[in-house]
Symmetry: C2
């Protein structure tokens, strides 16, 4: 009994210690922290092992569903994390990891993140965030300014107004898109006479009251999957998201968009929102936003722009005009954790009209009292961390001209890579870059020539085999772990709109050099030779 009491006492003391005493600098954790502080790239390079481990093997290290009954020493646990987690992570900041929308982070981000986490503010209300609330409002103001460029008076009037908000900060682009369409839905189906509005009475009563047969969200076929998810969540239904065809540059066909609006109006289906894409996920193209804004205006519907990827391009005076017309949007999604080089978990939606958020406002007794400046009264999320601080600091430390340089570099690097692919006779550029994304595939010269002179049926067969080859190369390259490109399937006009499998690259990492891009083509050429069936088969066909 006494022994048990002593153990309890010891555990109690050790618990108290972990809340009060820091890790010693010479502890495992202390040393690792220093290593990370001094050279994050080196740390990640040293500790992330480019293994060919299958996921099923890794799962064996994470198989126990019991919550541990024995505490672990911090240092032991850290070693375990290094061996089992870090070693088997993805080196997302590697200069040769150009397959997804992750990049290296500026070095000041790490200590600032630590400060943000140590402060552990909760942005849901002023009482748990104080200066973080005005800071987040300022960041929303700056981002609104980036998109809409209003006069100073506008920002002085609305930025810190309790009843208004220029946008909503959130964990990422999906929540931002849901929030935008939530606002659009609630504004469209607003209270009217005896009808209390969709927010209170729900969608069934709302459609009955307004007499609409249904709702629709119109977006190009390149729209992000989060829009269907939004339509599902908001009760509108995924099938209400109508995909409009794109032209050969992956931009929405405005003729067809207009025709669809016309048709839906006749069918008494109300267009809830037209969604423009500024930086498609697969190819990085930008819809003709100005034309779309005009159509939305004509049909009196909400115009949302999903600029999760491309929004940061507005920071570049040189390329800003690629998004011309964005100022006609009622709402805009921008992910700071993409081209603004902030860590994962920082998305935002901006509203043109500071009154928009009233459509989703809610209050509670103990927080979010009416008239308070609590940010939580018009966000989808409740408790939220102070990620806005990292955007604030990045905007100040990098500044707009610094961001411009990063954005321009990315676009111009993609143009360089496109040239490289075009000049290489065994590669085929599929979509040329508008922002810093492009798609391509490995297709030996002879096969490309054969494709050019083949009929559609033969083309389809060849593309099928080329697709298998692309998949083979991509998987191998990923497993080898030196570099990474992603793959997707897209419709290609020159092959009759058939879906073909392609490599997809995103060139946002400032550390990705021209030499790395050259190496990637070289590596892919070599991997192609290792395909036992597909390449020989293709070359055989080309010879015949």
């Amino acid at each position: 009994m006494r022994a048990a009491k002593r153990t309890a006492q010891a555990t109690q003391e050790s618990l108290h210690r972990i809340f009060t005493i820091a890790e010693a600098p010479d502890s495992t954790l202390g040393r690792i922290e220093q290593e990370m502080s001094q050279n994050l790239a080196g740390f990640l390079g040293n500790h992330i092992v480019a293994t060919k481990n299958a996921l099923s093997d890794i799962e064996q290290d994470f198989i126990n569903a019991q919550i541990p009954e024995q505490p672990e020493f911090v240092s032991d646990h850290m070693q375990h994390l290094l061996d089992k987690l870090v070693a088997q992570s993805v080196h997302t900041s590697s200069a040769s990891f150009i397959g997804h929308m992750t990049s290296a982070l500026p070095s000041f981000i790490l200590p600032l993140s630590k400060l943000m986490i140590g402060l552990n503010q909760n942005l849901v209300k002023v009482e748990t965030s104080k200066a973080f609330t005005p800071l987040e409002r300022q960041v929303l103001g700056m981002m609104h300014n980036l998109v809409y460029q209003q006069q100073d008076e506008f920002y002085q009037a609305w930025m810190h107004s309790a009843q208004h908000s220029l946008g909503a900060f959130c964990s990422g682009g999906t929540v931002a898109n849901i929030t935008a369409l939530w606002v659009a839905r609630n504004k469209l189906l607003r209270p009217d006479g005896d009808f209390k509005g969709v927010a209170r009475s729900g969608l069934y009563a709302a459609l009955q009251h307004y007499g609409y047969k249904g709702l629709a969200i119109l977006v190009s076929e390149r729209g992000h999957y989060s829009l269907k998810k939004s339509a599902d969540i908001l009760g509108i239904g995924q099938d209400s998201v109508i995909a409009i065809a794109t032209d050969e540059n992956n931009k929405i066909d405005c003729q067809q968009l207009k025709a669809k609006c016309e048709q839906l109006a006749k069918e008494n289906i109300k267009v809830l929102a037209i969604v423009g894409v500024a930086g498609t996920t697969e190819t990085g193209n930008i819809d003709p936003l100005d034309k779309m804004a005009a159509i939305a205006e004509q049909y009196q519907c909400h115009f949302h722009v999903d600029a999760a990827w491309g929004g940061a391009t507005l920071l570049s005076n040189k390329y800003r005009s690629l998004l011309k017309g964005i100022e006609g949007a009622d709402s805009v999604t921008i992910d700071a954790h993409k081209q603004m080089y902030v860590p994962m978990g920082a998305g935002l939606v901006i509203f043109k009209d500071p009154e928009s958020v009233a459509a989703i406002e809610h209050h509670a007794e103990y927080i979010l009292r009416k008239g308070s400046k609590d940010l939580g009264s018009h966000t989808l999320e409740g408790s939220r961390p102070g990620m806005a601080m990292l955007v604030y600091s990045s905007l100040h430390i990098i500044s707009r001209p610094g961001y411009e340089m990063l954005i321009n570099q990315g676009i111009e690097k993609a143009q360089y890579f496109a040239d490289l692919i075009n000049q290489h006779e065994d590669f085929e550029l599929i979509t040329k870059p508008e922002l810093c994304l492009l798609t391509y595939r490995y297709a030996p010269k002879a096969v490309q020539e054969l494709l050019a002179r083949s009929d559609e049926k033969t083309q389809a067969e060849l593309n099928l085999t080329l697709g298998k080859l692309t998949k083979f190369i991509q998987k191998r390259q990923r497993e080898d772990g030196r570099s990474f490109v992603s793959r997707t399937r897209i419709e290609v006009a020159r092959y009759g709109g058939e879906k073909i499998i392609v490599f997809r690259v995103v060139l946002a990492n400032p550390l990705t050099s021209q030499a790395i891009l050259q190496d990637i083509l070289h590596e892919q050429t070599q991997l192609a030779q290792e395909s036992e069936n597909f390449l020989p088969q293709l070359l055989e066909a080309a010879k015949a």
Copy 2:
């Protein structure tokens, strides 16, 4: 021209540097990082100034909506953050900040957070997270185990299965609640014959197909405001959330719950979900979950438990039984950033049935391919950070018995504080603690005696003035900055169910000592004397 080129060159080099070279240890940022590493509590104590600054004054520091055109040196910016942001933040981890659900963090959290952020994984898919995906699945398994205590075979079968998931990790309890109700809605209104289901066809078609007049969500009047928000977002409407009365212990009245189910069935309104609360936000009480599970079973509806706050109590063998019946829930929300001492941004929802998430599954070409183990195919959010790592590490380093000690301490500290209040003749305990929350107010002995002998009308008048006094004390205390309690308005049975204003405290911070609690009552007694009108008025009434 040449000068401009040189400037551009210099900016380019400095940009490259911020992505490659760490801050020097003797730089401002380096020194601050060390200070935080060595003694976070000291750092926060030194830098957060307990100012009486009004929010409108602080806003003046965050007033510029222009994105800077000039880069700032990291060190200068850091000094700016210390002066304007940190100094004017809230010391959420202070031992005397007992008004909200934030607490001190264990010291190992800071370096681990830094590791998590440096790795910058994206949990939406395996390609950008690798070992983090099995890790998150393991954490979901452990939390499922905590709630449902299934056999090992269960976890071996489902934890890492591509088509299944034991839950969804998310940024916080609100998203967790929305996700749970989204699943419930889509399961209820599932595909059926020609009807493609609510996910595809929307709520209007779904209600028509199933012939329901409406849907309802039943929860006690102490339910969290996120449930109304969920009902709004999901298209069901806030008015469909029906508040069931609570007993004198703030627990749902099961008689009334059942009666409401009966009535709704007659009206052809389908109960979408019954929601139990395990740890009400205001008073920390727990609904009779076992009885609610039986009612949900009887009326064949989804039973969700919002255990955002109280879920961690399951880690305590001593107090686990407070949540008895939770294993009857179809889904459970738990916030790791509350009583699991992980930083802001870590919520989760657990599903009893591993197949549940199929109701919200979605796929896309370039990611979330069918058959992949990508976690993003059944989460509300898209791109997400690796916060699950912090839960994983905390579970290993603190372990279940460590958590038990923390939970027990909190509950017993609240019992101590309740005793203190009861023994103090000038304070009135309003709700006694079941978990580590309680509410009370300052009410001089003479006033309490007057209340006891007064009729309802006089009681109401006295309570109004006492409410004003409570508000006065709470605001003053917050402004003085030494300590913080929150306030709310709750219905109190002994005063005829009238809503009265009370102090609310949450005693989850392991560093909050008995001495601090004594000081808080002392401080409040003193602040009461500073009220120029309310206290004299009350004392006058008591004398008459």
